[in-house]
């Protein structure tokens, strides 16, 4: 990972969802920019395992949390006690669960909405409530490329991520005057996601790895470093007028009309 300028020196950052493919690079990037990181996950040991893999024990600590408001608040207080008052919150997406729409149940949808939308809301709410007065804060919700439109088999995630984006706009407007900026990052196609696409033949037989690259104007998958650079841009104190942004790190996936023949 390229060396980062110390723009977050001394700040405490919460990263929610250690099981995400981005958790280790995001945590490492935040640490390299000078932050101390509280890595949080629902599963016992998940966060501490990632923290141990990163290996910088003084700057990262793992925490297990629950999915209710009380459990989130309790975890938040543990973080404050151990690392100090957080001024940065980053939520990461859960691994997608792909189910053909005609087989989706209400339980499937509710579970994904709970995981992505309610979780992001609870952590944002706790962050806002506990942020010390006269202190600036920054929240970034990392979502997914499927939020930009229809992906067969991804309906609950599309809906959930779109809801998170709407929440970003609402919170940006409501909390802006309090010094809390709220933004979102939409990661582009990664190697892991591309493999899922290529493997899910039953859902989208015409999407193969070669076609995936042809779908991206820059013809490249997103490296983790690109996501980290964009995250650090949003968190940088110099970005103090960036609020309510939904920033796509997608090589142009989201803007291309796809009217040309694919390679």
């Amino acid at each position: 990972m390229p060396e980062q300028p110390q723009t977050l020196d001394g700040q405490v950052a919460i990263v929610v969802n250690a099981c995400c493919e981005f958790s280790q690079p995001v945590t490492t990037g935040l640490i390299e920019a000078g932050a101390r990181v509280a890595l949080v996950d629902l599963f016992p040991g998940a966060a501490t395992q990632v923290a141990a893999e990163i290996g910088v024990t003084d700057d990262v600590a793992g925490f297990v949390t629950g999915s209710t408001e009380i459990e989130v608040d309790k975890t938040f207080r543990s973080i404050e006690k151990r690392l100090g008052a957080p001024t940065i919150l980053v939520t990461l997406p859960a691994d997608p669960i792909l189910v053909a729409t005609e087989r989706l149940t209400s339980t499937d949808v509710a579970e994904i909405v709970q995981t992505e939308v309610v979780r992001s809301f609870l952590w944002s709410s706790a962050f806002s409530s506990e942020l010390p007065k006269n202190t600036s804060g920054a929240v970034v919700h990392v979502t997914g490329l499927c939020s930009l439109g229809g992906w067969p088999g991804w309906l609950p995630h599309t809906v959930a991520f779109s809801a998170v984006h709407a929440m970003v706009h609402a919170l940006a407007v409501e909390w802006g005057h309090r010094g809390i900026r709220v933004n979102s990052l939409v990661p582009g196609m990664t190697a892991a996601l591309a493999e899922q696409f290529a493997a899910s033949d039953k859902l989208a037989t015409h999407r193969k790895m070669k076609s995936i690259l042809a779908r991206i104007p820059t013809r490249e998958l997103m490296p983790y470093s690109a996501l980290i650079d964009a995250l650090l841009y949003l968190l940088d104190p110099c970005s103090s007028f960036v609020n309510g942004e939904i920033l796509k790190v997608d090589g142009g996936w989201g803007i291309w009309g796809r009217l040309e023949a694919q390679a």
Partner: protein, 264 residues
């Protein structure tokens, strides 16, 4: 821009990269030119006002950086081509291009003079296209380059009395996306910036001609303030830098939440 404001801008380096800025002789364009020069870039300023263009180069020289000035009216594609040619002749290639030239001609749409409409479109939309086209000749040949087009929140949300400005900026945004999809496979990234209200000369013109009031601007902004120029410069530098290497076709908002607010 003072040294304090330069220090407030994020950490980007453009050592030995050649940057062209249209409308770079004053205001925001000059601030970007200054920041790029201080970050190691070879800077070429295109500016329609010759006095301002020469003064910009002199100011940068006083600060120990160098820049070139080429008189450029972006409405004329031949002049924009000459700007690009001058940059290539001196530095070998163009790496970065900022289409910043703009104008503020507002008024009720039913009485908007033809000249106001035409000038707005010619400078901000056509001028941006000529700039992108001129930049592309060098960039596509070398298989790399980054273009940033200045749009506006007015390109995404309507504002009464600004038909020409809003239409031009909306056009810039879609143009950015077309070029990003067309040139992305060939190594050239194109992004736009959508600022809200910063106290620039154009904003001051709007206040002076009564098409806007400061209190309205402040009330409209979720952060309760106007943007500061170093905040906008920071986003432009990010978009131009290799830290935005996977951003293509974006319209980056620097608006304090302006576009998020759809309330009263």
């Amino acid at each position: 821009m003072s040294h304090d404001r330069l220090a407030a801008i994020g950490h980007y380096t453009f050592t030995n990269q050649t940057a062209v800025i249209t409308g770079g002789g004053r205001g925001f364009g000059f601030e970007v030119a200054h920041a790029l020069a201080a970050s190691g870039a070879n800077v070429v300023i295109g500016e329609v006002n010759e006095e301002l263009g020469h003064e910009a180069v002199r100011q940068l020289a006083d600060e120990g950086t160098t820049a070139r000035f080429v008189p450029t009216d972006v409405r004329d594609p031949r002049q924009v081509d000459s700007l690009a040619a001058a940059a290539v002749n001196e530095f070998g290639a163009i790496d970065l291009w900022l289409n910043n030239a703009g104008i503020s001609l507002h008024g009720p749409s039913e009485t908007l003079p033809v000249e106001s409409w035409q000038k707005s479109i010619d400078i901000m939309l056509s001028g941006t296209f000529w700039g992108c086209q001129a930049a592309s000749r060098s960039m596509l040949e070398h298989g790399s380059g980054t273009i940033v087009n200045m749009a506006s929140v007015n390109g995404l949300l309507a504002q009464a009395g600004r038909a020409a400005y809003c239409a031009a900026k909306a056009g810039v945004i879609r143009l950015t996306e077309v070029l990003a999809s067309e040139w992305g496979p060939r190594g050239v990234r194109v992004n736009a910036i959508a600022p809200a209200v910063f106290m620039t000369e154009l904003a001051q013109q709007s206040l002076n001609d009564g098409s806007a009031t400061l209190d309205v601007y402040l009330e409209r902004s979720p952060l309760g303030r106007l943007g500061e120029l170093n905040e906008l410069v920071n986003t432009v530098l990010f978009a131009l830098s290799d830290k935005a290497a996977h951003l293509n076709g974006n319209t980056l908002r620097v608006d304090g939440g302006w576009l998020s607010d759809h309330y009263l």
